[in-house]
Symmetry: C2
Subunit: 347 residues, 2 copies
DNA sequence: TCAAACAATTAAACAAATCTAAAAGGTTTA
DNA sequence: TAAACCTTTTAGATTTGTTTAATTGTTTGA
């Protein structure tokens, strides 16, 4: 067992000895310092490749206190909403030779704190997080106080002033609700999600205010909360269709819930988009290819990811500070899952 | 800019000085060494918490050469197939206090090698990878030769003998094809995917052999390759429906392609599962809630992830070696997207 | 011509932990 | 009472790269 490492590890001193130089020169040369003569640098680099030298970042970061590691924690990387944000972050960070460490917290504050601690142990340069429900301010401060700047995405944390990027949820749900109202719907349910997050409260407020402004009474019976998954939307269909208030339209928490709901409606023999109008939220890739194509609200995932990554890189470079909340304005995407109220509708 | 770190960093020596002990004792105590007296250990641990000490893994790993980092690279973490594998890996690794670093390679061999190099620089303990198309044996050896064991999932690499876990693709597609044949279909297309990977070749072989065995001619015109996404399945529908051979059923590369294809078929005014039978592959969560519910082949994602993680942990602990290929046997999941051949079908 | 400036290189300190071998202190045994 | 033997603690070396200040040799300028 374990006679790997046949050849002993190649380190700076191996190269230095092979060339009759000091480790200082080799170190400087490999980092393209102008202090080293061109000829010397070339010889060193050649030798490094020849010997298969591998730079030891842990040793280096011990001295420099920059590890090149950036942490990202979200609720669930499998969720396409976060996946789209992550892709934007990845694209942005890739340019700056930072490695990023990814983790799910599944809304467990403990798992999230565990991640922050691990990241601190590894000397993480910064962290981008979509905070778990109930995240205490102290957990963000733990990172900040130990020299690891934090950026928040998708959700805010009370009493915390770090740069925060998310969509304007109240505005976005109001867009969707107004769209349905303009089509003649008045019995509009809101499906999925929770009211325990800033996002949840904002989305409900957007929906409720839009109804009120149009002179439609807000009936709490029409609010059906639940997980933010297709499965949950699918299951909500039964409740939705059995509702005594006979809603004719649904504002869904997100596209996943909406697609699940449409599947459930179809399974019950009704035609989503004709018998029942459905709006999603996020405008995921698959919204456009759902059947019927889903009317939804674009939530600026790519913007959120890109801005967050940039804000972090800026902070690391000591330049501008973008503390506080930055709201991205959502936009309506109208497709085939919504249609004018059918006079005989409501079952 | 940057007057964070108000208090200077707390390290072992800070604790040691505060208690009038040596760093050696503190180091041993925090790792629960039996060499340290119980009273002393308790005092030290208390002080560590009081001061907010954060363990510096980079410094430690410099001496111990175990970083606690495990790397995982797959084609695309957004793809639910990999996401399910990743979840299984995460669950398994979580128990062993390893941090895992995730990356996409999008089938770019360069991006993949880049990741391996970064991981080596960080002192990664091991790597689990679903190798990019065209991965040379030398890239796997780069990891292994530098003391970082590799485990392969989902795909094999020629000339490489490291532990490899994947589904039995030939067997699985044969299952799906036979299912369709048993329903009376003879004009069966195969949609999506590529023939440039071991997986691709195996799947095509499974499909083709099943047809041959049943005395059905294999028509290369019925093979429509393409990306492995919903989008691509959706777009393939047009081609599929226009095919002069009027296929009545489709064996799809995976569930995503199948769901996309069904959406495309529905968009064209036909009823998937009645007019055209469709099978998927993987049995993702959403296969069951698609409309119609998708007949598919379970590909053992969770098993692959769990086995791979265990094999790596075993290797790190120097115990058993599971080199070579391990095939997981897929199973048929019959739902509503397939039905007996309608005599008047084929458009 | 000599001091100052400059270019290239290096010795040695340093980062924060671990680990080995030895010391210190106390108790038991011969 | 000295030797042997624990138990607990520690000095100091070690890990690999970075950085500072010093060194050596060369060139420039007055």
């Amino acid at each position: 067992m374990g006679n790997r490492n046949l050849a002993q590890k190649i380190k700076l001193s191996t190269i230095a000895e092979a060339l009759g130089l000091s480790t200082a020169t080799v170190s400087l040369a490999l980092r393209d310092s102008p202090l080293v003569a061109d000829v010397t640098r070339d010889r060193i680099k050649e030798k490094a490749i020849e010997l298969g030298y591998i730079y030891n970042r842990r040793a280096a970061s011990l001295r420099t206190s920059r590890s090149g590691i950036i942490g990202v924690v979200v609720h669930d990387i499998m969720n396409p909403f976060y996946a789209e944000i992550l892709k934007a972050i990845e694209t942005e960070l890739d340019r700056s030779r930072q490695t990023f460490i990814l983790s799910n917290h599944y809304d467990s504050v403990d798992k999230q704190r565990n991640f922050i601690e691990t990241l601190l142990q590894l000397g993480g340069d910064g962290v981008i997080m979509s905070p778990a429900i109930g995240t205490p301010a102290s957990d963000i401060r733990l990172a900040e106080d130990n020299g690891m700047p934090a950026i928040l995405i998708a959700r805010s944390v009370p009493e915390i002033d770090v740069p925060t990027f998310r969509g304007d949820d109240a505005y976005g749900t109001a867009l969707a609700t107004n769209h349905l109202i303009s089509l003649g719907h008045t019995r509009i349910a809101m499906i999925g999600g929770t009211d325990h997050t800033s996002t949840g409260r904002d989305r409900y407020a957007g929906y409720a205010n839009a109804l009120k402004k149009a002179g439609i009474e807000v009936d709490p019976q029409l609010r059906i909360p639940g997980p933010r998954t297709k499965q949950s939307g699918f299951e909500a269909a039964v409740n939705f269709l059995a509702n005594p208030l006979k809603p004719t339209a649904a504002v869904c928490w997100n596209d996943l819930v909406a697609i699940g709901l449409m599947n459930g409606i179809a399974r019950a023999g009704l035609v989503p988009g004709k018998d029942i109008s459905v709006t999603g939220y996020d405008d995921l890739e698959e919204a456009a290819i759902a059947t019927p194509a889903l009317t939804t609200v674009w939530n600026g995932q790519s913007e959120v990811g890109r801005f967050a990554a940039r804000a972090l890189l800026d902070k690391l470079n000591g330049s501008s500070e973008a503390d506080g909340l930055h709201l991205i304005k959502p936009e309506m995407r109208i497709r085939q899952s919504t249609s004018p109220l059918n006079p005989g509708a409501g079952r």
